[in-house]
Amino acid sequence: MVRVAMTLNGNQVSGDVEERTLLVEFLRGPLAMTGTHVGCETSQCGACVVHVDDMAVKACTMLAVEADGACVTTIEGMAGPDGTLHPVQEAFREHHGLQCGFCTPGMVMSAVALLKENPKPTEAQVREYLEGNICRCTGYHNIVKAIMAASGQLAGADSARPGVIDA
């Protein structure tokens, strides 16, 4: 066992783990942060994407001990303290960027990383960046649309919302 300490969503956390503990296991188990999902555990699907020192990584393919001393941000750290959604989360809600929602935490974390690197991506760049995030509902269209909207590039967003029924 080894002691691991990190800053998680702005809070100091620590725990004793076996060296083989994956970062995602540490997050979901002892720390009870279950927003980060495990889809494939083979670094294909991207449901477990979190930020480590501001970089998107697959938490199923990194050891908890490798994140010792790092700043880790998960989906739980995206919304404001008062529950106000992050602009990317808000865009996913607004544009129906999720169906079953399983891939959504990873999609949002990847999208936030993309917009930080490239605030005005083209649609092709969005799709390329999401290469490591799989949505088995195949709902990519609205995910891409949500990210374009979050980057402020969706013209006439209110009038073009297929799949969303205005009450």
Binding site: E19, G46, A56, V57, K58, T61, L63, E66, S110
Partner: protein
């Protein structure tokens, strides 16, 4: 995954000492090693992370050579190598996906020498030099068949020196699930000739296509490749592609690399 001891030395010297013990294994970004350990295809007793060693990290322009530290991630090569050596930076920017590129390292990829990895093509096509803690190894002598390299037990790749070509490009047909190269071709043009290296295709791992090198050295154009082909014999054949398909892709990817060379 079986349990192991984990250490994170901060100097090459300490890393070498840690690697002296039996069943110790160097760890780069772990994007191949950790999945391999999960599948219990590897079970080291000790992992020696190389990521906290500052002298193994970074990209530096050194005259007409690009120096890349062994523990430098693909994302950093894609970003910091773009100006000096765009062909290499674009190759790095096509490895895996963004999250994998934020962890995976040059040295890790080379030490593993997956027959479908991208970096081996860049090293072989540029005649790069692999610098280890003990010696320097020419790319032509480094790769030794599938998953084989000239590295000794406990030897660490500290850096790679890439002679920067006048023009170069990497063209890859990705295997869409793994994002490894089904076939990838790296073409590099130098004042004294052109080098072509192909990855993903051969059962022997990365190789130079000497016929294409001779043709392109005489005339660096797509036309020069007309009529040249590689025999399917010795090509990898699996559910992702038959041997003759891979052989065909060798010529197509080389042509595309020549057309896209910058």
């Amino acid at each position: 995954m079986h349990n192991f001891q984990f250490v994170r030395p901060t100097s090459i010297k300490d890393a070498i000492r840690e690697l002296e013990s039996d069943e110790a294994q160097a760890l780069g970004g772990g994007q191949t090693l950790l999945p391999t350990m999960k599948a219990r295809l590897a079970a080291p007793e000790k992992l020696v992370s190389l990521l906290a060693i500052p002298e193994l990290r970074g990209v530096r322009l050194d005259g007409d050579v690009l120096w890349v530290g062994g523990a430098t991630t693909h994302a950093v090569v894609a970003r910091d190598g773009a100006q000096a050596f765009p062909g290499l930076a674009r190759l790095a920017g096509q490895i895996g996906d963004p999250a994998v590129r934020n962890r995976g390292t040059l040295g890790g990829s080379l030490a593993n020498n997956d027959p479908s990895a991208c970096y081996p093509a860049a090293l072989l096509a540029t005649g790069a030099t692999v610098v280890t803690n003990a010696r320097e190894i020419a790319a032509d002598d480094f790769f030794d068949g599938m998953f084989g390299t000239a590295l000794d037990e406990g030897e660490i790749i500290s850096a790679v020196r890439f002679p920067i070509p006048q023009a170069s490009a990497y063209s890859k047909m990705p295997q869409p699930a793994s994002r490894f190269a089904l076939v990838g071709a790296f073409v590099a043009k130098y004042p004294d000739g052109v080098r072509v290296a192909i990855t993903g295709a051969s059962e022997e791992g990365v190789f130079r296509w000497s016929q294409a090198e001779a043709a392109l050295s005489a005339d660096f154009s797509e036309n020069a490749l007309r009529g040249l082909s590689i025999e399917p014999e010795g090509m990898i054949a699996d559910i992702h592609g038959a041997a003759d398909y891979r052989a065909h892709l060798c010529a197509v990817m080389t042509r595309r690399a020549v057309a896209g060379a910058i």
